[in-house]
C-alpha cells in the first residue's frame, strides 16, 4: 500500500478552479517530484495536503489513515511536514531554537515544570538540545546554532527550514522549491543533502521544483501539473520526454 494516496483532489477560489481532479500515489521511501509552469497549482496542492486549505472534493490518505479536511496542526501530528516557497523561519529566534520548536511535539514537559525548573525540565531540555544539534549537524549548521535565524545566509536558511521540518519526525516531507534562489553550486550541494536525508532518515519526499537538473537528477517519479490538472505522470525520464510536457514547458 502506498504511503500517500491522494484521490480526485479539487479546490476553487471564487470562480477560479485552482486544482482539479488531482490524484497521486507515493510509495514509502520514494522521492517524488511535482513540476509544472508558474501558476499550475503546485503550492496549492501542498496547501491542500497540509491542511492550510480544505479541499472542496477528493481525499487524502496517509499511511492508511484518512486525513482529508484535518487542520494543518493535526496533519503535522499525523506525519506530514513541509517547507515553504517563501522561507518562513522564526526570524527572531536562534537557529537552535528553530529546530527545538520543531521538536515541540516530540518532547514533553509541562509549563509549570518549565517555570519552576523541575528536574524533568533539565532532563528533557538536554535531550532536545542533543537531538537538535544532531539534526543541525546533518545540514552542517552546528557552528551557527546560536545565530539568529534571520542572520543566516539564504542557502542555509533553506537548509534550516528542512531541518526544522524533519524535527517533527514526519513520515512524509514536502519541500516547496528548495533550490529557489540558489546558485548552481548550492543547488548541487542541496541535491546531495536531500539524497542523504532520504537515506539517513529513510524518508519519503515530495518536492516541487523548477530546476530541471535537480528534478531529473534525484526524483524517481514525477507528476506534471498544468492549469490545475495532471498533464502527465510516471518515471522521470519518460515524463520529461513526453510531448505534451515539452509543449507545456517550452511552447510549440
Amino acid at each position: 500500500m502506498a504511503l500517500l494516496e491522494v484521490k480526485n483532489l479539487g479546490i476553487s477560489f471564487g470562480g477560479l478552479r485552482a486544482v482539479n481532479n488531482f490524484s497521486v500515489q507515493i510509495e514509502k521511501g520514494q522521492l517524488y517530484g511535482l513540476i509544472g509552469p508558474n501558476g499550475a497549482g503546485k503550492t496549492t496542492i501542498f496547501n491542500l495536503l497540509t491542511g492550510v486549505y480544505k479541499p472542496d472534493e477528493g481525499s487524502v490518505v496517509l499511511d492508511g489513515k484518512n486525513i482529508t479536511g484535518k487542520s494543518n496542526i493535526d496533519i503535522n501530528k499525523e506525519g506530514i511536514a513541509r517547507t515553504f516557497q517563501n522561507i518562513r523561519l522564526f526570524k527572531d529566534m536562534s537557529v537552535l531554537d528553530n529546530v527545538k520548536a520543531g521538536l515541540h511535539n516530540q518532547y514533553h514537559y509541562s509549563t509549570i515544570e518549565g517555570i519552576l525548573r523541575l528536574p524533568r525540565y533539565h532532563k528533557v531540555e538536554k535531550e532536545m538540545n542533543e537531538k537538535a544539534m544532531e539534526l543541525l549537524k546533518v545540514f552542517s549548521l552546528e557552528e551557527e546554532a546560536n545565530y539568529l535565524a534571520s542572520n543566516l545566509p539564504y542557502g542555509k536558511q533553506r537548509k534550516l527550514e528542512i531541518a526544522r521540518a524533519l524535527a517533527t519526525n514526519p513520515k512524509l516531507l514536502l519541500l516547496d522549491e528548495p533550490a529557489a534562489g540558489m546558485n548552481p553550486n548550492e543547488t548541487k550541494e542541496l541535491m546531495d543533502t536531500i539524497s542523504f536525508v532520504r537515506k539517513h532518515f529513510d524518508m519519503t519526499i515530495l518536492l516541487i521544483e523548477h530546476d530541471m537538473k535537480l528534478v531529473s537528477g534525484i526524483c524517481e517519479k514525477l507528476t506534471v501539473l498544468n492549469f490545475g490538472e495532471v498533464l502527465a505522470e510516471g518515471k522521470t525520464n519518460e515524463v520529461l520526454n513526453n510531448k505534451a510536457v515539452i509543449t507545456a514547458y517550452l511552447g510549440e
Partner: protein, 355 residues
Amino acid sequence: MKNKFNKQTKDNLITYGMVIAAFIIMQILLSMGKVSSLMEGLLVPLCTYVILAVSLNLTVGILGELSLGHAGFMCVGAFSSALFSKCTEATITNSGIRFFFAILVGAAVAAVFGILIGIPVLRLKGDYLAIVTLAFGEIIKNFINVVYLGRDSKGFHFSMKDTMSLNMEADGEVLIKGAQGITGTPNDSNFIVGIVLVLVTIFIITNLVNSRTGRAVMAIRDNRIAAESLGINITKYKLLAFSISASLAGVAGVLYAHNLSTLTALPKNFGYNMSIMILVFVVLGGIGNIRGSIIAAVILTLLPELLRGLNDYRMLIYAIVLIAMMLFNWSPKAIEVKEKISTKFRTSCKGKKEV
C-alpha cells in the same frame, strides 16, 4: 552550547541582582531617613508598575500581540482581592496569610478574565486586537463603577443601582459602593512584599520564555503559519501566554489595592490611559526585553516626581522626552548615526591597541 546556557543564566542573574541591589539601597536610605515621604509613598506603586510592565512584555514582546487593556486585568485583580481581604479580615487574622490568599485570589480571577477575554479576542489581529482589549478594559472599569455589593446575616446582596436597592438587614455592611468603590481594605502590602512579587514575576516570565512553552509562543509570534505546520497548537499557547500575563497584572492589582485605604476605579488608575502608560514602559524598555521594561518603568515613574520642581512644565518635559527617545531609538537615521559612532569608536580603540 554550554556558553549560551550560561549567558542566559548570567543575564537573568543580572536582572535579579539589579532589583535586589535597588531594594537594599532603598532600605539603607530609608533607615537613614534620607527618603522623602513622597518617595516613600511611591515605593509600592513603583513595584506595581514594574510587575505590570514585565507582565505586559509577555503579551507584547513574547506573544507579539498589542494589548491596550492591561489595566483592566489589574482592576479585576485589585477589586477581587480587596473584596476577599475585606470579607476575611475577621476570620483570617494573620495579615501575612490573608495577603497570600488575596494574591492567589487576585491572580486567579484575573487569569479567568484573561481566558474569557482571550478566547474571542485572540482571533483578531494587530490594531483590531488593540482596540478590543482597550474596549474590554473600559467595560470592566465602567462595570465596577456601577456595582453595589453588600453583606448581611442572610448573605450577599447585589445591585447595579444604589445602596438602597441592596435591600439589606439593619446589620448589613456595604462592601462595594458603586463609584465610591471599596473602602477599608486592610493595608497589607508594603515595599518588601512588593519587591518579592517583582522577583517572582521576573522568575515566572524569564523561565517561561526559556522553556518549551516559551519557544512555542515565540514561534507563533514570528510566523504563525510555520508554527502551525510544526503542529504547535496556536490557540492554546496564545491563550496561555495571554492569561499568564493577565494573571500577573492581577497580582499587581492586589499589591496596588492593599496599599490604599480607598479603592476606586477611575480613568486615572484603571482606564486606558494606564494601559497606555504600561505599554510605553514596555516599548521604551525594548520590546521583549525584561530588564529594559523594569528600568523604563522605574525611570518613567520617577521622572515626573524628579521634575516636580519644574511644576507645570514637568508633564510637558515628560512628553518631549518620550517623543525624543522614540525618535532616537527607532528612526532609521538615528540608528545609522549611532552605528557609525560605535564603529568609529571601536576602530579607534583597536587602532590604539595595535599601536
